[in-house]
């Protein structure tokens, strides 16, 4: 907020007095669109109103695993509660016997013929990835989403371009709602890119018929370590 105030003090003196002051200041240059928009807004915006206090929004902490499982299943995802990496690897091997190119970004998942490092800088070559296995920080019970950031998932396109997606919630954390999710995000390392992913890619654009597998993965499996 302080940042904004500093900026405001810089602009306000002439913005408040309208366009005349502004043209005086920029004698050699026509007022640009940025200044035009900002001075119009300063002149037209209503009196300041207070921000809502949203600290009261909280979800119930009970039964989060069941709730998450129910919502994820309803939006077309698959849920697996697992003990350890071995169980994840075994499940994946059973679920995706046909997968030829598998990229795995999860530690200690060692069985099978997984690529763990993407050595090719040409991201377009990821178009033939059958399965990507990635880590997520946490999941959200109310909507089935997982939160991923660029830190764990490189390159950004991987969880979108793969035919199937498997996500491991390494710490097994499930938050009730998006409010707790954003509280957690505020404590994590800053990201360049982050995304909530909730289920496989889908569309209902043709007569509202739900079709799974629009442009992104045709399936999403979430593994929660318990």
């Amino acid at each position: 907020m302080n940042v904004a105030r500093v900026g405001a003090n810089r602009i306000r003196p002439y913005a408040a007095n309208g366009i005349q002051e502004c043209t005086k200041r920029r004698t050699f240059k026509k007022m640009n669109s940025r200044d035009k928009i900002l001075s119009a807004i300063a002149a037209n915006q209503p009196e300041r109103t207070a921000l809502a206090d949203i600290s009261g929004f909280k979800g119930a902490e009970e039964n989060l695993q069941n709730k998450y499982a129910a919502v994820l299943t309803a939006i077309g995802g698959r849920i697996y509660f697992v003990k350890d990496e071995n169980e994840i690897a075994a499940t994946i091997a059973a679920q995706f016997p046909e997968a030829k190119r598998i990229i795995n970004l999860v530690d200690n998942l060692s069985i099978g013929n997984f690529e763990t490092v993407i050595s090719d800088p040409e991201i377009h070559n990821l178009k033939n990835v059958d399965l990507a296995i990635i880590k997520a920080k946490f999941a959200v019970a109310e909507n089935g989403a997982v939160w991923i950031t660029e830190k764990e998932v490189q390159p950004r396109v991987l969880p979108f371009i793969c035919e199937h997606l498997a996500v491991v919630i390494t710490d097994g954390i499930i938050f009730p709602t998006m409010h707790e999710a954003y509280q957690k995000i505020a404590t994590l390392e800053e990201y360049g890119y982050g995304s909530f992913i909730a289920g496989p890619s889908k569309t209902a654009d043709i007569e509202q018929s739900l079709v799974i597998g629009a442009h992104g993965p045709r399936s999403m499996s979430v593994f929660v370590k318990v």
């Binding site: 900026g7 405001a8 949203i54 929004f57 989403a145 396109v157 982050g194 909530f196 909730a198 654009d205």
Partner: protein, 456 residues
């Protein structure tokens, strides 16, 4: 934009020629409204969330100047290039200039109603740049050379058989295939090739955060991410009202948006773009195009709180039975009818009248915009400015005279009853708009006043 000289009533009449289609359109949208209700009713805090969202948006409008500066500062610090466009023309010119600088003549675009508002595709086509819309619904209407008819469900007016014919013609699917599964798969293969070969991607913006300089794009299909992550340059176009103050407020808005739109708990992808990938710039264009003027209209500025969920369209009895194209503007339905007259009062003078004022739109609006009140206020504004048709103005004046004079009122009642009884052909004809789609009522023998005089 498809220009039309016909008004909403005339375009709705065209849509209404096919009764079965109207019924199907009506029922499909009502079904989405019901999905919304089912999902919303699971949250006891729903009304509190709406109230919070409304207050946050009011705060944004009351402090937009500072929030925009804060956003610009933080986005720039994140390595994102910020551009300002006063109007549609300038927005289109900026996009064109950026594409020219990157030597790109083919671009992939995910859904952005703002670019529809600005007529970007047409502008770029005139300058030799091909744009492919990657949202399935938008691609379908693009192939059909039509504008979207709904902001969330662009081809909701199209039957799967029509889509099958389009795909047969343009994407080489077998003739007479109308299975949504097969058609979607064909679109997936076609657009995958587009994503892999286009070096520039344009996306819309659902929310931009002043505090962090990031912006959020929501899709179910993953098309915004596929486009942006595979291209060499990402351009994001946003209306200046899309700002929210802090990141934690996304919690409120992401909970409201998709539940209101389609009855899903959240879109499949809610992607937060903060910094560019290595050597792949992000340009964000902040577009005014009449918004700062609307901000100054005390009665109408609330419309700028809109988060474009489309709930008001799905619930509107007029929209459901007249179709999105009858509104002849980028954003159709109740919200479009209060946004469009701000841009061009003369061109969109019919839209505030395309409503029953039932108030259902205001009831479902996740940010509590008083849509039906604003429709009513726009009508008053339009009458004051002289934008109503002469016939309506004259008949309203006659009506006012009649209602204010008991003698005239009695005489009018008597002659009305006489005509309905003895000369029904005078009113039951095409010249009487009230007779369209309706039976005229049977006339009573006497008025209440006459009956009362006799019996008391």
């Amino acid at each position: 934009m498809h220009e039309s000289t016909k008004d909403h009533a005339a375009l709705a009449a065209e849509f209404n020629k096919d009764e079965q289609r109207v019924n199907w359109h009506d029922e499909t949208l009502w079904w989405i409204r019901q999905k919304r209700d089912k999902n919303v009713h699971q949250l006891p805090e729903w009304e509190a969330l709406r109230e919070a969202a409304s207050q946050i948006k009011f705060n944004v409008l009351s402090n937009l100047h500072d929030y925009l500066l804060q956003f610009e500062k933080n986005a720039t610090a994140n390595g994102v290039h910020v551009h300002w466009a006063a109007d549609a023309k300038e927005h289109n010119e900026i996009v064109h200039r950026l594409l020219t600088e990157h030597k790109v003549d083919r671009m992939v675009k995910s859904k952005s109603m703002l670019t529809e508002e600005c007529g970007l595709n047409e502008y770029l086509a005139e300058h030799g740049i091909e744009v492919i819309d990657s949202d399935l619904g938008e691609r379908i209407v693009q192939l059909a050379k039509e504008p979207p008819s709904h902001i969330v469900l662009p081809c909701i007016h199209k039957k799967k058989e029509e889509i099958g014919d389009l795909f047969h013609k343009y994407l080489g699917t077998p003739a007479n295939v109308a299975d949504p599964q097969i058609l979607t798969e064909a679109a997936r293969q076609h657009l995958r090739d587009v994503f892999l070969t286009r070096r520039a991607a344009l996306t819309g913006v659902n929310f931009a955060v002043a505090e962090t300089g990031e912006f959020v794009v929501c899709t179910n299909e993953g098309n915004a991410d596929m486009g942006a992550h595979l291209a060499d340059v990402h351009i994001a176009s946003m209306g200046i009202e899309k700002l929210i103050p802090e990141r934690k407020h996304l919690g409120v808005f992401l909970r409201l948006l998709t539940r209101s739109a389609t009855g899903q708990p959240i879109t499949t992808y809610s992607s937060h773009f903060k910094k560019p990938r290595k050597e792949t710039p992000i340009h964000i264009i902040l577009v005014d195009n009449g918004r700062s003027v609307q901000l100054g209209r005390k009665e109408f500025r609330n419309s700028l709180k809109c988060i474009r969920c489309g709930a008001c369209m799905n619930t509107c009895p007029v929209y459901r039975r007249s179709g999105g194209h009858s509104y002849h503007t980028a954003v159709a339905g109740p919200i479009g009818s209060i946004l469009a007259p701000n841009l061009d009062m003369k061109k969109y003078k019919d839209l505030p009248f395309a409503s029953t004022l039932c108030g259902s739109c205001s009831n479902v609006c996740p940010v509590k915009i008083d849509i039906h009140d604003q429709l009513y206020k726009w009508r008053q504004e339009l009458v004051k400015e002289g934008y109503t048709p002469a016939a309506k103005t004259i008949s309203m004046k006659l009506m006012a005279q009649t209602l204010s004079s008991p003698t005239l009122y009695n005489a009018a009642g008597k002659s009305g009853r006489f005509v309905l009884k003895h000369m029904p052909f005078l009113v039951s004809n095409k010249l009487n708009p009230w007779y369209k789609e309706r039976e005229m009522p049977e006339a009573p023998k006497e008025s209440f006043r006459e009956w009362y005089k006799k019996n008391n």
